[in-house]
């Protein structure tokens, strides 16, 4: 299907303080969100209902639903996944998952000259989820740690750039996955949980 004709939702509940529902319709983007702290359970389904209603779209008219898999708030992610899994099951919709790190990496890697990049995303208790990228190697490692741990792990990091996620990058990644038919099995889908672990044992072949 041509990207100009696609209709889909992007659901993001990975941030403890944000519940966001984006509707993409043939190149146009419609966003609705709530910034209520830990308000995912209360706000997600009403946001989905309102977004579809305000665009006069029935859920069964969607081509797929994309959900952010994390890393992020575990409970928030589970609310997003439980909602989306059942919506997809009943309405026979395809499911696409989007990793926060993949979005940042795709955007940031090409615009930066460093050979090593560390992406940080806020976690709880002053910890950060991190992705360490060896540029050009196609390899990365994901983990979680405090600033002190990260300073020890990555002593060569010199510069910190603060970047904000751009909604278009989530949409573009969703479309790219749709075009490559990289769908997630609806029944077995679950969030991307990161627990503490050793960076060396965490190296994974790049998937982005």
């Amino acid at each position: 299907m041509m990207k100009e004709k696609l209709k889909f939702l992007v659901i993001d509940t990975s941030d403890e303080n944000l519940t966001s529902v984006t509707f993409y319709n043939s190149g146009k983007v419609y966003l609705k969100n709530s910034t209520e702290e830990r308000g995912h359970i209360k706000n997600l389904m009403p946001l989905i209902r309102d977004v579809l209603f305000e665009n006069s779209i029935s859920i069964s008219d969607l081509d797929f639903i994309a959900v952010v898999e994390g890393p992020g708030s575990w409970t928030g992610l589970r609310i997003g996944f439980a909602t989306v899994k059942v919506l997809c099951l009943i309405n026979n919709l395809k499911l696409i998952v989007i990793n926060n790190f993949d979005v940042f990496q795709k955007n940031f890697e090409n615009k930066n000259n460093s050979t090593e990049i560390v992406i940080l995303i806020n976690s709880s208790n002053l910890n950060y989820y991190y992705r360490y990228i060896l540029k050009g190697s196609g390899e990365y490692a994901d983990g979680i740690g405090s600033i002190k741990t990260l300073e020890e792990k990555f002593p060569k990091i010199e510069k910190i750039n603060f970047i904000r996620p751009n909604l278009n990058e989530y949409i573009n990644l969703a479309i790219e996955k749709f075009e490559h038919k990289r769908f997630q099995n609806v029944d077995s889908a679950e969030p991307y949980y990161i627990s503490t672990g050793d960076i060396k044992s965490n190296f994974t072949k790049a998937k982005v």
């Binding site: 589970r78 439980a82 099951l89």
Partner: protein, 333 residues
């Protein structure tokens, strides 16, 4: 009217399809005991992950077993009022997605109220008012049920619930998790008069419970015995301990019935599956001219049939929820 019930308060993922409040077309319970037994108790984060892993499969199995499709469902009932928050949100999210997609009512219900209604699924002779003992690992209440949705709580546990103390003693003795069924089984070969353990608060005129001291009495007794003796006396120890728990529950419930001039007793919750508890309640009720009712074993532990049954009466009472429904870990009845 067909209601799909959802129950994910703790470690069981359950979906049930119930017609007209008492015809159970399916009641699927995905038990997580294997996941948690190595930890000797429920690990909330693991429980929540398991709920999410299996939720779609359990929904599909419940529909298949009931031989219905999504379009046949008239309403969705879900427990959103007692349990572990991270487990409850999985069930409530699923319930909202169902209610929205199928454009059907969403009915929020209370977990303990669900247990009270578990005895109304099959027992047509259980009427109002009656006294209800809810007893499990998470709750231990004596409630006068005056009518639908009219409750008067006359007794509560001051510390551990009866099911919790059974689990804790079983864990202390290395018997695994959950402890209730193991203690029930091993006690059958034991002498329940071999050791005397206290019947906590049995002489008091109120209807509250306290099992923490009983747990301490059992652990002290075990510490006094040599290892070989504990092993030799294990069944006797368990039978004596179990007798103290169930006799306390039965005495207090019978006394409450007498004081409030009620003739029917309903015993619900996981511990109501205990065989000695049933035996003793029947014996004591009969002696006192009272009637006692128990749910079928499959409706004693956490299950969604009771949620759907209660949902039916809530629907008739127009007690419906909206898509902005929230969850509560410990809301009162």
């Amino acid at each position: 009217m067909i209601i799909l019930g959802i129950e994910t308060s703790c470690d069981d993922t359950s979906i049930s399809i119930v017609r007209n409040g008492n015809e159970v077309l399916s009641n699927i319970v995905w038990n997580q005991n294997k996941t948690h037994e190595i930890y000797g108790g429920i690990v909330p984060e693991l429980g929540a992950r398991r709920h999410l892993q299996v939720i779609n499969l359990v929904i599909k199995e419940a529909l298949d077993k009931a031989s219905i499709s999504f379009q046949d469902i008239d309403a969705v009932a879900v427990n959103n009022q007692k349990g572990l928050i991270r487990s409850l949100v999985v069930g409530v999210s699923a319930a909202k997605a169902l209610a929205y997609s199928l454009n059907i009512p969403l009915i929020p219900v209370h977990h303990i109220e669900g247990h009270i209604y578990s005895n109304l699924i099959e027992n047509k002779n259980l009427t109002f008012p009656h006294i209800c003992l809810t007893v499990s690992g998470g709750h231990n209440l004596l409630v006068i049920v005056n009518n639908h949705f009219e409750y008067e709580i006359i007794g509560n546990t001051l510390d551990d619930a009866a099911g919790e103390v059974l689990d804790k003693v079983a864990r202390f003795l290395g018997l695994g998790f959950p402890g209730g069924p193991v203690i029930d089984r091993l006690s059958k070969d034991g002498d329940r008069k071999k050791f005397h353990f206290p019947r906590p608060m049995i002489e008091e005129s109120n209807f509250d419970f306290s099992f923490s001291g009983l747990k301490t009495a059992v652990t002290r007794k075990v510490q006094q015995l040599a290892d070989s003796e504990t092993s030799y006396e294990l069944n006797n120890l368990l039978a004596s301990f179990q007798e103290a728990v169930v006799e306390t529950l039965a005495e207090k419930t019978i006394n409450a019935c007498k004081k409030h001039n009620l003739k029917q007793i309903s015993v619900v919750g996981g511990v109501s599956a205990n065989s000695r508890l049933r035996e003793l309640f029947i014996e004591k009720s009969s002696k006192n001219g009272l009637e006692v009712f128990f749910p079928s074993l499959s409706f004693t532990t956490d299950n969604a049939a009771m949620i759907a049954c209660l949902g039916y009466y809530k629907y008739k009472n127009h007690s419906l929820g909206n898509l902005d429904l929230e969850v509560h870990s410990n809301l009162g009845l």
